[in-house]
């Protein structure tokens, strides 16, 4: 080995240890979900002793109705992402390309919302939705999630649309194209990377969201997956295998999505921070 490579061995060692710390909870989760309930706490081994209980997954999926909760989560997440992309590409485009009085103030107003954390307003949100009849509906969960992502989505879309040469807009306008047509035919197709970033960020946020559904949904049949996992927590005599099988069902879609769109996820995490 080259001397420089040897010098790097300690680096790899430390990074591998940290990597193991990051992976261990996941591996524990997989192992526990496949073990016999009595076996979960009794051994070190991450692998089951003897039989692998795949049947736990079948039970959680069918008897514990995780299929149903899974569809609820898909429903909420899908419409949240759709709403965010439709609403904020439109508004972001307007802020980036169109001149209208007050546009700067409106934009700053939206960004200012960033400073009010969702959790502070959960009580009034509950009361507002109660009086609007939105409480305990999926729509009532989707609307605040869409609204909550306004600062980041607007910021990203506006900046992205600004990087697209203005001549494109002028030419299309001279050719008599309407503004919506310009937006959907020219700008949206060019903004796919920004849309991918917003989609993956909000997929994670919405799928994993805990407080909002806890506050806004009362009926079990409307529960999203995180709430369903909490239903499996039976207190002192936990059935760890069942709890972990439910947890794993919950995280598989996010992890898959993360693997597929990792590049855009990292862009989303760093874009705002590095520039400012």
């Amino acid at each position: 080995m080259k001397p420089s490579a040897i010098r790097k061995i300690p680096l790899y060692a430390v990074l591998t240890v940290w990597g193991a710390l990051c992976l261990y909870p996941l591996l524990w989760m997989i192992g526990a979900s496949l073990k016999d309930p009595m076996d979960v706490m009794s051994s070190y081994s991450l692998l089951p002793n003897g039989v692998w209980h795949w049947d736990t997954y079948v039970d959680v999926w069918n008897k514990m109705k995780f299929f149903h909760y899974f569809l609820n989560s898909v429903n909420v997440t899908f419409f949240t992402i759709l709403g965010i992309n439709v609403l904020f590409t439109m508004a972001g485009f307007a802020f980036a390309k169109l001149r209208f009085p007050g546009s700067n103030m409106l934009f700053l107003g939206f960004l200012g919302m960033m400073f009010v954390p969702g959790i502070t307003v959960m009580v009034p949100l509950y009361l507002t939705e109660h009086s609007l009849g939105l409480l305990n509906t999926h729509l009532g969960l989707i609307l605040p999630m869409v609204n909550g992502s306004a600062p980041m989505a607007l910021f990203l879309f506006r900046n992205y649309f600004r990087t697209i040469p203005h001549e494109l807009y002028e030419t299309a306008k001279l050719e008599g194209a309407g503004i919506l047509r310009i937006l959907y035919r020219i700008y949206i197709p060019l903004a796919i990377p920004a849309i991918a970033t917003i989609t993956i960020m909000n997929f994670l946020g919405s799928w994993n969201s805990l407080v909002l559904p806890m506050v806004l949904l009362n009926s079990q049949h409307l529960y999203t997956l995180p709430l369903a996992v909490m239903l499996l927590d039976t207190g002192v005599f936990r059935q760890w295998n069942v709890l972990m099988a439910g947890s794993l069902i919950t995280i598989v879609p996010v992890i898959l999505c993360f693997f597929l769109l990792q590049k855009y996820f990292i862009q989303g995490l760093t874009s705002g921070a590095i520039k400012s």
Partner: protein
């Protein structure tokens, strides 16, 4: 000519308003209205289960209840919660060096950067519910941590009731989990920042005879400083608004040992049904977060000039 131009400008402005209208409507309904409503609500009494119609003006009662001991138990719980939030906040000072160290090391290796990066981001991606139940399992009386201590002969350190079950170990155990979960977000920021440094700069500095410290101070730190400010503010927000790990792992117990403000707010509002007080508590922690963020921004900005 001028007329047709202004007509076009007017059409453009109209289109602009139309395009932002849906976002603004949603914002007015769910955002602004709720925030204003919420501020007002802090000064009203709302009884058990009752809603806006039966609200009574209460002046500063709600704030006095939990801030100045009019409701003794609640005051005590709030103080404890605030102290615990501040402990979590202090842990940011541990998270930042770990995140920076990992980012620097990751930057230095030549093979497997992408693989390591993917693995390091997993704690951030995984649903909080799932991951915190696992940590609870690790801290159980029969869990991995106690078993590990027994195996290496440190039986005296074993937490018999589980690490989250004993008064003096619950908060530290919770904070370790929070540190573990906060590293990825900051690590990726540092890593992205380090990658923007042009390696030729280091070579040029070396040729000019700059030492290792000089290189760090002159080239690396100017890029890392603003990232550190962002990390501090992120850490502050995260610490003062923490909810998920506490709710899943301890619900504030045992005996308020891990109580934090937002868990108290949730319990007060949706378990005890006192929405006025809960709302006032929520705003107090928000104001604290906001002021601390502004102060740290100001201090760190001034230093740079």
């Amino acid at each position: 000519m001028k007329n047709s131009f202004s007509a076009m400008a007017r059409r453009e402005a109209a289109a602009g308003y139309l395009l932002v209208a849906p976002a603004i409507l949603l914002f007015l309904l769910i955002g602004l209205f709720t925030v204003l409503f919420s501020i007002g609500l802090s000064f009203y009494h709302l009884g058990q289960g009752s809603l806006i119609t039966s609200a009574k003006f209460a002046g500063l009662d709600n704030f006095q209840n939990f801030l100045f001991g009019r409701d003794l138990n609640l005051s005590r719980a709030f103080k404890q919660a605030l102290v615990n939030n501040l402990w979590v906040l202090l842990s940011t000072l541990v998270v930042i060096p770990i995140a920076l160290a990992i980012a620097v090391m990751l930057q230095r290796i030549s093979k497997g950067i992408r693989l390591y990066r993917t693995v390091f981001l997993l704690p951030m991606v995984t649903s909080s519910v799932a991951i915190y139940y696992v940590w609870q399992g690790i801290y159980e009386p029969e869990g991995t941590l106690n078993k590990l201590l027994a195996a290496i002969g440190l039986d005296s350190l074993i937490a018999v009731n589980g690490w989250l079950g004993e008064l003096h170990t619950a908060l530290p155990a919770l904070i370790v989990t929070v540190i573990w979960g906060s590293v990825p977000g900051m690590m990726i920021l540092y890593f992205a920042g380090l990658q923007t440094v042009d390696p030729h700069l280091y070579e040029a500095a070396e040729m000019d005879g700059a030492g290792a410290w000089q290189k760090i101070y002159r080239i690396t730190w100017p890029i890392l400083r603003p990232i550190t400010v962002i990390c501090l503010i992120m850490g502050m927000n995260g610490a003062l608004q923490i909810f998920d790990p506490v709710w899943i792992m301890t619900k504030g117990g045992p005996a308020n040992a891990t109580e934090v403000v937002n868990v108290l707010v949730y319990q007060q509002a949706f378990v005890n049904g006192d929405m006025g007080v809960a709302n006032a508590m929520g705003w107090s922690i928000f104001v604290l977060t906001f002021v601390l963020s502004l102060i740290s921004l100001r201090i760190l900005r001034d230093k740079s000039e």
